[in-house]
């Protein structure tokens, strides 16, 4: 190991780490507000670049159908005027997709909005009706959705990988492409944006309040359902954006989501599913650890990365008070 190799490994760890970090932040956000462990976040991430590839080659992706079906279910669950919103959104999305076929900038927007719409309707259709359920029941639902979405990903996009063109081609320095720089910049920007959102914006504060104490927040006029939708919207926006930015670097395929999501989950667990900064640092830790184990003992890389969970879980078990809400 010399300085060059060390530098490469650190850069590699950083680039992966910020992606795990974004997923971890999204997981923490969704968990604190809705108590849902969003296992299918990896699938939401995967839908974005693959839908983009489909649009760029002039085809309508199957994910659009999925989103529209969920949108209709969403509308059926709503009463009165609430029905118009998902239907209008779905119609808008459909029109956007028709327009975006083969038009690159529109295709990015369409893929992004699709995943956000999908994320929000997933919450509305599957999680909101069971909002009083236990964390375990919500987790079972989340795992079920992960399996279903991954299977649908295979049906929609086939078994092979796809590689969209990078937004910024070329290399910034040795070992880091411009696209990689873009990923880092995006991570930094979203961390900053999340910070400002929670500290400065009234809506963000309301979200935090809903996360802190659901009943108290309700008494102050914050609807937990709305908070849940916003949390899902933000999480799926982050997932979609990181998926779109990442795909040119790592190739997108229907199976890409689970491992990324799982690593984000490990990071989020390191932060106890509560603390944003610790979750983000945990993600960097996981990624650096991974990049060094891949150099020294590549066959055991994943096992070692998940071994990081053991001390974190041990610590959590010592700290936990054993009472759920």
């Amino acid at each position: 190991m010399d300085a060059t190799i060390l530098g490469f490994l650190l850069l590699d760890g950083l680039q992966n780490g910020v992606v795990y970090g974004l997923l971890a932040l999204a997981l923490v956000l969704v968990f604190t507000v809705t108590r849902v462990i969003l296992v299918p976040i990896g699938e939401l991430m995967m839908f974005a670049p693959l839908s983009l590839v489909w649009l760029q080659s002039g085809k309508l992706p199957g994910t659009l159908g999925l989103a529209l079906v969920l949108g209709v279910l969403w509308a059926l669950l709503e009463r009165g005027r609430g029905r118009a919103l998902p239907l209008l959104g779905g119609a808008g999305l459909f029109l956007l997709f028709l327009l975006a076929r083969g038009v690159a900038p529109l295709a990015y927007l369409a893929a992004l909005l699709l995943v956000v719409y999908l994320g929000v309707s997933t919450y509305r259709v599957f999680f909101q009706p069971m909002r009083e359920a236990t964390v375990l029941a919500l987790l079972i639902m989340a795992v079920g959705l992960h399996v279903a979405y991954q299977g649908l990903g295979l049906v929609f996009f086939g078994p092979e990988q796809f590689r969209p063109e990078p937004l910024l081609p070329g290399e910034a320095t040795v070992g880091l492409s411009w696209q990689g720089v873009l990923v880092l910049a995006f991570a930094l920007a979203s961390v900053l944006a999340l910070y400002l959102f929670f500290r400065r914006a009234l809506f963000g504060k309301a979200l935090l309040a809903a996360a802190e104490n659901r009943l108290g927040a309700r008494l102050c006029g914050i609807r937990p359902e709305e908070a849940g939708m916003v949390a899902f919207a933000i999480a799926s926006l982050m997932a979609a954006l990181s998926g779109l930015l990442l795909a040119p670097l790592i190739n997108a395929a229907y199976f890409m989501g689970f491992m990324l999501g799982l690593k984000g989950f490990v990071a989020a667990i390191l932060g106890g599913l509560l603390s944003y900064p610790v979750a983000f640092l945990g993600a960097l830790l996981v990624a650096f650890f991974e990049s060094f184990t891949s150099f020294y003992a590549s066959a055991y890389k994943d096992a070692l990365a998940f071994l990081l969970l053991v001390p974190a879980l041990f610590y959590q078990s010592l700290r936990a008070k054993g009472v759920e809400e």
């Binding site: 490469f8 590699d12 078994p159 891949s294």
Partner: protein
Amino acid sequence: MKRGLAAVLVLALGALAQAPLKVGVVVSATGPAASLGIPERNTFLLLQELLSRQGGVGGRKVEFVLLDDASDTTQAVRNTRKLVEEGVVAVIGTTTTPASLGMIPVVAEAKVPMISLAASKDIIYPVDAQRYWVFKTPQTEELMARAIVADMAARGVRTVGYIGFNDAYGEGWARFFEAEAKAKGIQVVASERYNRTDTSVTGQVLRILARRPEAVLIGASGTPAVLPQRTLKERGYAGLIYQTHGVANPDFLRVGGKDVEGTLLPAGPILVAEQLPGSFPSKRVALDYIQRYEAKYGIGSYSTFGAHAWDAWLILRPALERALRKADPEKDLAAFRAALRDEIEATRGLVATHGIFTFSKEDHLGLRFEDAAVMVQVEGGRWKLIRTFR
């Protein structure tokens, strides 16, 4: 004339009266191995169409009972049990090595002949009491590793780095390749692993580069095989890069683009069928398959994996005809299955898309290295034949 017509009518009525011969097929049409399983499934759909037009085998209708195992061993075993209970005369499949290994005890217990479409040598070797019932059509890693080592030796390569899947595929290749390389005096200086879902292999590639090998072999299949190659190129590796026959599908070229330009790989001769010399024995059969497949599924849609399924039927069909003369599946299914097994083992010099099959009591693969492997290079986004071993 009249008598001829009557005979045909009697035959046709007989065929109608008799229940069709059921051939069980298990493939991985979904799941991680789907890129291999889908062309296999398509091939059987094509065969079913051809057979219903031609009226079956030996005057008997043939029906493929096609099941998907979702690339999962448990599902494959369950499917096999189901097929055996349905009274199939033979089982073809499945796509992956682990699932095929799982099916062996089931067919051995029920005494049903099976032709696997998976790669590993462990499926048919050694031919013990259980493998007595099992045959297979794809080339083994051992056979293909020999082709790679022969090519490396011809190019004067002395040191090689290896990076492969962290599963049975990558391990099998590591084992056979290292053994073959050692025998030819080629040194394997690094042996790394990665997962097909990995998003970065920088660590592994840096370790390989630090050892400065003259060539690198990537033991992976499908589009996930692109990642190490791209990382090698990005880190400025200028040596030879070898892949295995697991990448011989159009998607690898599509995703790899210019990063996989110049890649060397061993392949079944069908991959470059139209470039083969006219004297190459399997050329005609291979072109016939490609033409039929592309007529149904589109130009450029064929892959070498579907051809393994075609070969399995090329072997089974004459064996079925011969077995029908020996036993009647209606009266005694067990005897017919046993007769069919013996007839498959009696296959000699059968020219198929991937080579010439000659089974024996000890050899249930039956492919000769010289006919079953060629070296191919990626050139201008196409496969180019660079060496045959005949």
